[in-house]
């Protein structure tokens, strides 16, 4: 019996050998093309827009093939673990506050040389954006698209209260008066409408002439007199409107990306809001009559504060295909692609030339134009690009919580925060 089984096996083995050969040939043909991995952070329609760009890049040439996968930006643990483990993707999307801590820690490639070799420089980006993600001369990432905040007010609520719907507050004093006029309380004593809700504390620090850190010396300046003045103003606000009542009211607010957004429902009359509100209101509150303008400032303060936030594309220092990843990154962040992606996200492209590209320019509404003008002419500030990352923001929040509870003075709270961050920063020196 064994003798008969052998002949039948032999051809099968050779058939396998043929298959192996074919596979090897295929593999060697494919190896002319380098595959890079790209962790992109967008789901849904935004993810589809990104995938369309990836597909277009893949079709446009045959040397580099981008394989993208959706890794939510909030999944910092996964990103951190892949970097610490030395097996990261070739191109990764991270929050702005992660860029400098990771880069300074040695986990990210410095893109300075590659960008300048490609002829990309400061003038190609909107004012203040090139420095963003840079620390001590090293550029650790490229902003994906820009989010910018401005001051929003609900015109209908203004009109219903007998106020001029076209006259938003220009000074902090005017803001205080309007806040009082627009705040209402129900028979139970619970808040029905808050005239104004300050959400991003740092904006007011800058409006009062302060700053969280000195961008030139890279020193932390949480106890800056301007910040103290802003905190004293916030403390008065929380005392007057009662932090307990505000928190209680806040617990009933709906999701920001829904028709139950408290601003859309008239529960807040004035607040900060990013340019995404142009798209959000179109979707969730098409009848909302709102205006957008620059932030009010006190006498002698900054009248053109422009808060900017972004996610970043970074190339890990230990990426296997850095050159190919850079090539794709340069293509992805070029004006044409930047314009298209920003339009899909209702964000603003970081590239100056992208603003004029039809893909983006055709989507600009008058409200969007206000945001763009602020970016072009305002005092742009970004989250501090320091190795301490989110710790500084958290300390600012801790200081605010202490001030809200009225346990310490604004100055003391900020001095404590300053000391803590300074101490943490010294570990990196």
């Amino acid at each position: 019996m064994p003798s008969t089984s052998r002949p039948t096996r032999r051809p099968r083995r050779s058939r396998f050998a043929g298959a192996w050969l074919a596979l090897l040939l295929l593999a060697s043909a494919a190896s002319a093309q380098t595959e890079i991995t790209f962790w992109q952070a967008w789901g849904g329609s935004e993810g589809q827009a990104m995938q369309a760009l990836v597909d277009e890049f893949n079709a446009s040439q045959s040397e580099v093939r981008v394989r993208s996968s959706f890794v939510p930006i909030g999944d910092g643990e996964r990103i951190l673990a892949s970097l610490a483990g030395g097996a990261p993707a070739d191109l990764v999307t991270v929050w702005d506050w992660m860029v400098v801590p990771l880069g300074y820690g040695g986990a990210l490639a410095d893109l300075t040389a590659d960008l300048s070799a490609a002829g990309v420089g400061q003038d190609d980006y909107l004012p203040g954006i090139w420095e963003y993600g840079t620390y001590q001369g090293a550029k650790y990432g490229v902003p994906t698209t820009i989010n910018v905040y401005a001051f929003m007010w609900n015109k209908d609520v203004f009109a219903a209260a007998g106020l001029d719907p076209e006259a938003p507050p220009r000074t902090i004093a005017e803001l205080d008066v309007l806040t009082e006029q627009l705040t209402t309380v129900d028979p139970r004593g619970n808040m029905r409408r808050l005239g104004f809700y300050p959400n991003v504390t740092a904006i007011y620090c800058y409006a009062f002439g302060g700053q969280l850190y000195d961008p030139t010396t890279l020193e932390v300046t949480l106890d800056h007199p301007g910040n103290v003045a802003a905190f004293e103003w916030l403390a008065a606000y929380y005392k007057k409107y009662d932090i307990a009542k505000i928190r209680r009211f806040q617990a009933g607010w709906g999701d920001m990306a829904s028709p139950f957004n408290p601003f859309y429902r008239g529960q807040i009359a004035m607040q900060e809001g990013g340019q995404w509100e142009v798209a959000f209101t179109r979707e969730y509150a098409p009848d909302l009559n709102w205006g957008v303008t620059t932030f009010p400032a006190p006498e002698g303060g900054r009248t053109d504060v422009t808060p900017v936030q972004s996610s970043f594309w970074v190339i890990p220092a230990q990426a296997t295909h850095k050159a190919e990843a850079t090539r794709f990154l340069l293509w992805l962040s070029a004006p044409e692609q930047s314009a298209r992606f920003a339009a899909a996200l209702a964000n603003i492209p970081p590239r100056r030339d992208a603003l004029a590209m039809p893909a983006f320019a055709d989507t600009i509404t008058p409200q969007m134009q206000t945001y763009i003008d602020m970016l072009l002419t305002g005092y742009v500030y970004t989250p501090p690009g320091l190795p301490v990352g989110l710790y500084l923001s958290d300390q600012l929040n801790q200081a605010l919580a202490a001030v809200q509870d009225g346990t310490v003075s604004a100055r003391e709270a900020l001095e404590t925060a300053q000391r803590n961050v300074q101490r943490e920063l010294e570990k990196y020196r």
Binding site: G76, E77, L80, L83, A84, P101, L102, G105, G106, A107, R188, G189, N190, A244, R247, R248, F249, Q250, A251, G252, P387, V388, G389, L390, Y391, D394, Q398, A401, Q404, D405, E424, K427
Partner: protein, 309 residues
Amino acid sequence: MRGSRHRAGRPNVLRHMTRRQRRDLWLGLAFVSPWLIGFVVFTVYPVLASLYFSFTDYNVVSAPRWIGTRNYTDLIRDPLFGKTLYNTLYLAAIGIPFSLGLSLVIAMLLNNKVRLQGLFRTVYFLPSVVPAVAAALLWRWFLNPDYGPVNEFLWQLGINGPGWLADPAWSKPALILASLWGVGGSMVIYLAGLQNVPVALYEAADLDGASRWQRFRFVTLPMLSPVILFNLIMGIITSFQAFTNIYIMTGGGPSNSTLVYALYLYQNAFQFFRMGYASAMAWVLLAITAVALVGVFRTSGWVYYEARS
């Protein structure tokens, strides 16, 4: 022979095994090796590594730098360390007795032979099956100060309910209230314990003229005490590590009133890039848990072990 072996001290186990026994031992070890290797690689190594990191300045991406006990001394100076420890102990000290008591009461009620007993048991156990995230979201809405059914009910009684999760004074009680919804897990363990109490003991108690309370006090409770001890220990461990529901329901706020130890540890490790500090926090938590558990065992004279007597 046997005597001499004993005098020689600890015998080499392998030498006194038959060939077959030895082969079975290696084979057995080979079969469990995926778990042994997994245990060493994914549990023992990280635990020991975290002990080392706790003595270093480590931001995850650059190499750890030895700083001795500075993380531990920093902990003592950190006001949030004390605050988060207090919050955690508060939730444990108030939450565990409530949950132990409530689950015991429900288990005893469900141990009665009533119609639809199976249905009732299922209904009370059901919340334990609901994913933690879904339950947390549900409770956030339930306790909503302005729109939630709890405050609406209180308003019908003429009470303007508290801000619950939005009020630093009420946020911890609110979390405890929400956690009581999930007592089904320990309830099931009590139920199993109750069914193991010999009927003969109740019959003997009846013959002696014991009242319902006496039957509970002198038969049920002692027979159930090992189960209570078990639930107590599990309660301590899980409440010291509480994270998910709080992360979702309050994120630690308002004003740090629900910032529990594990949440602060997580922030330090993954948001502030202070992995060394977070490792030190983890070891302090382990020490505190160990002390608490040793304390529980030391004072467990009230536990009655049937097999021992």
